[in-house]
């Protein structure tokens, strides 16, 4: 990284940049190609997945948590959703956990044909196979992790109600009196082992006042400002237009100001504007916030101006067969390549305080989705309206996307634990005519046992929800 003294260089380039209205103050960005800057890396290669840790797996049936499940940590995981770990003793590019060690920590081997990309590389093993490595560090799974979202041998199922895990075993504990299960305390992990976390992002040099947050609407980790509001990056030409125009459309974009003493840092450079103020740029692209983003997590600027994008640090993997559509009623939703809305089937849980109808009012609970499986209790009659969103036979999991095999042998896309579906009543992009469709259970048979795949406190039922990124 090169740091430039602002006073000297700024004066020099200001003259050259006078015609365009703004100047780049940092040598590090002077040759930056905006089109290259847009190629933000995808978090995971094919064959490597991600799982949220802790309560974000959705085991806890506490009514308040259903509407406010924090995704504090997201781990890189293998194709079964098992958390991946690195070992401090491994030198870069070598896997040394073998023999006795390998009985506890199992090498995360790559599928044949796996390809290295970005920070992901492959280590040759003695048996001719390859082991995945992240930033040169070999990756392993931990045999005491029993289900997706486990960390250091502690299952997220222990955080919530009794539940059947993916292996069909009842796990966890709960608050329903005699159904309460015994919570087991995991032994501490051996020294030197660390989970490979996709989030929070480590080792990223950030100017003061900026942070990185998950922004599901953009399927990415993005820069946020001091208020945790989404930050956007503009093409150089668009930045010039914004600077020189005074329309309401331009004023929607507020400059992410850098202090006069701030210096370039890592991928961040400084632009001097024509009024003498300084503006942060990321990968050479000037940064803004959007006045239409009223709260953290909003990304309303995405659909306003195609020349500005969220300032993404890394993006989720998205299968080519999937798109993200902006809808009038529910914001951005996952859709087929043709734009038809994708759905998940979910177990109903009451929201104390309302909020069910709000966007993200019912966040994904991967454990519930896995319980429901590819069938999602959608019988033959149900499947006249609901069709599984099928994947190609050779489709591979990556990121939050998994590929499950249906009873008929066909592959189905799974997102964050939920098998995905399309609805026959949707005819064009933006239609969401299957959203909020319920199948409720109120039986008059005193001996009827409700079984909708997820524990209920009150009303038992399943509902179809739009799938959101």
């Amino acid at each position: 990284m090169k740091t430039v003294t602002i006073a000297c260089i700024g004066a020099g380039i200001a003259i050259a940049g006078a015609a365009t209205g703004f100047s780049l103050l940092s040598k590090t960005s002077s040759g930056a190609d905006a089109s290259q800057a847009r190629a933000i890396s995808v978090l995971t290669p094919l064959g490597v997945t991600m799982q949220p840790l802790g309560k974000a797996q959705g085991y806890d049936l506490g009514k308040s948590t259903a509407s406010a499940i924090a995704r504090d940590q997201i781990a890189y995981t293998d194709t079964r959703g098992m958390t991946l770990y690195t070992w401090d003793k491994d030198p870069a590019g070598k896997a040394t956990c073998v023999d006795e060690c390998a009985k506890t920590f199992v090498a995360f081997k790559a599928a044949p044909g796996a390809a290295a990309s970005g920070e992901w590389s492959l280590i040759d093993l003695a048996d001719g196979q390859k082991q995945w490595a992240l930033k040169g560090k070999a990756l392993y799974t931990y045999i005491k992790d029993v289900d997706p979202g486990s960390l250091g041998g502690e299952s997220p199922a222990n955080l919530g109600a009794l539940r059947r895990n993916g292996a069909g075993v009842m796990v966890g504990g709960g608050y329903r009196g005699d159904l309460k299960g015994g919570k087991t305390q995991a032994d501490p992990m051996p020294e030197g082992w660390k989970p490979a976390l996709a989030y929070p992002i480590a080792d990223l040099k950030l100017p003061a006042g900026l942070a990185v947050k998950e922004l599901p609407d953009a399927a990415a980790f993005v820069l946020v400002d001091r208020r945790n509001h989404t930050v956007y990056a503009a093409d150089a030409s668009r930045a010039e237009q914004i600077e020189s125009c005074t329309t309401d459309a331009c004023r929607q974009w507020e400059v992410l100001t850098a202090s006069q003493l701030a210096e370039a840092l890592g991928d961040f450079t400084i632009v001097e504007r024509s009024d003498g103020t300084h503006q942060w740029a990321f990968h050479g692209r000037p940064l803004y916030t959007f006045t239409g983003d009223l709260a953290p997590g909003y990304a309303n600027g995405l659909s306003v101006d195609q020349q500005l994008e969220v300032a993404a640090v890394a993006r989720y993997y998205m299968p080519p067969a999937v798109s993200i559509q902006t809808t009038a009623g529910q914001g951005r939703v996952l859709a087929t390549a043709e734009g038809l809305t994708l759905y998940r089937r979910d177990g109903y849980i009451l929201q104390s305080g309302g909020g069910h109808s709000l966007r993200r009012g019912q966040p994904a609970r991967p454990a519930v989705g896995r319980d429901l499986g590819t069938n999602a209790r959608c019988d033959e009659e149900c499947q006249k309206n609901w069709q599984p969103f099928l994947a190609a036979d050779d489709a591979q999991p990556s990121g939050f996307w998994d590929v499950a095999t249906r009873a008929d042998g066909k592959k189905q896309w799974v997102y964050q634990g939920y098998a995905l579906w399309t609805y026959a009543g949707d005819l064009k992009p933006g239609d969401m005519n299957g959203h909020d469709s319920y199948d409720i259970v109120v039986s008059d048979d005193p001996n009827y046992v409700v079984n909708v795949g997820t524990p209920m406190d009150g009303g038992a039922g399943l509902w179809w929800s739009i799938a959101i990124p």
């Binding site: 329903r176 259970v441 409700v450 009303g459």
Partner: protein
């Protein structure tokens, strides 16, 4: 020449004719079961407090009188009764084993708590049987007799559902207080030649994308803008008439609106009746009646589980037995069990601006 003049006049008048048509939009700002509770409508008494109901269940489930007395003493003292809680929150029985009573209400013993037997209740004579029909009400405002409102009969003696138009039932105050700020608003659109005069009107009832907009004190805000959700599940139109400032529906069809699972996933009415009074301050208030499926009503109440049962609703499985008992329409062809119940809902609405959601978002000005 005359033909030409006539044609010209006709063309010139077309815009005038259109301009004469009037449309008024409203956003529903209060929605609840219509109740008219008074001191004489539950001859066997209002249902006991939930703790007392729990003790009755305990006795039915085999608790000894001594145990029940001890629990009563603790409850009166404000002490914890965890063993009673465990019994109650699993008071359903299937093959003798305890099960969740809220998801398995039929497995819970019916305490046979009474329904309401008062004479007055809001609504409409849905079945046309008039005053002779046993169990029907007289509407306290219109004085119409033969009113069918068995939902009020079923729930009218439960504490959470007692109230009046001015003093709102606890359940609905609790539910609406949560829903109004998150559930997409319901919209009413009136169209007629001149809504200041009597005449035929069209009544549209739709769902918005936006939830109800409120003032800082929580009261509904007049003249806010809403977009109509084009989802066909929430589009309804009825023929009606305006007379003396009151809108009624003259062709009673079916109504379907997506709602919220806090109270019911959908609001369905058949044989829809409406009486909507247009007020001088441009707001509206009135009643909507018809037959509605009762199981979703139970399901919504059951969603609260054990915590909500104690704090808001009272005995949840008891609602199942009451609703099943008082259901008065749509018998199941096999079991004979009525699947729908006559019901009246009270609504208030504020004036609003409404537009179709299909209109594209204006493009940002580009230089």
């Amino acid at each position: 020449m005359k033909r030409i003049v006539l044609a010209s006049l006709t063309l010139a008048c077309l815009p005038l004719a259109n301009a004469a048509a009037e449309t008024r939009h409203f956003a529903i700002s209060w929605f609840s079961q219509a109740t008219y509770s008074n001191d004489h409508d539950c001859s066997q008494g209002v249902h006991p407090a939930v703790e007392e109901v729990y003790l009755r269940y305990a006795a039915k489930l085999g608790a000894t009188p001594q145990q029940v007395a001890e629990w009563r003493r603790k409850i009166m003292n404000g002490d914890e009764v965890r063993d009673l809680d465990q019994l109650i929150m699993n008071r359903g029985r299937i093959d003798g084993k305890p099960v969740n009573p809220y998801t398995h209400p039929a497995s819970v013993v019916d305490l046979s708590l009474p329904g309401l037997d008062g004479k007055e209740g809001f609504g409409f004579d849905l079945d046309g049987k008039g005053a002779d029909q046993p169990g029907s009400f007289q509407d306290p405002e219109t004085k119409e007799r033969g009113v069918d409102h068995n939902l009020y009969r079923a729930l009218g003696c439960t504490r959470a559902f007692r109230g009046s138009l001015a003093s709102r039932p606890t359940y609905w105050a609790w539910a609406w207080g949560q829903l109004k700020d998150s559930q997409p608003a319901w919209l009413i659109t009136l169209e007629g030649a001149d809504l200041k005069k009597d005449g035929p009107v069209t009544v549209g009832i739709d769902r918005a994308y936006e939830y109800l907009r409120s003032n800082s004190d929580g009261s509904p805000r007049f003249d806010m803008a809403y977009r109509v959700d084009p989802d066909p599940r929430s589009r309804n139109q009825f023929k009606g008439e305006l007379r003396d400032g009151v809108v009624t529906i003259t062709e009673h069809g079916k109504l379907r609106l997506l709602q919220n699972p806090l109270v019911s996933p959908e609001f369905n009415l058949k044989d829809v009746h409406l009486r909507l009074e247009l007020k001088a301050d441009r707001s509206a208030r009135g009643f909507m009646g018809g037959y509605t499926p009762w199981r979703p009503i139970y399901w919504g109440i059951a969603g609260v589980g054990f915590g909500g049962e104690q704090q808001v609703t009272g005995d949840v499985p008891g609602f199942y037995h009451l609703l099943k008992r008082y259901a008065d329409a749509d018998p199941d062809p096999v079991t004979g069990q009525n699947e729908s119940i006559s019901a009246t809902y009270y609504i208030e609405a504020v004036p609003a601006f409404v537009k179709d959601a299909g209109a594209p978002t204006p493009q940002v000005t580009r230089r």
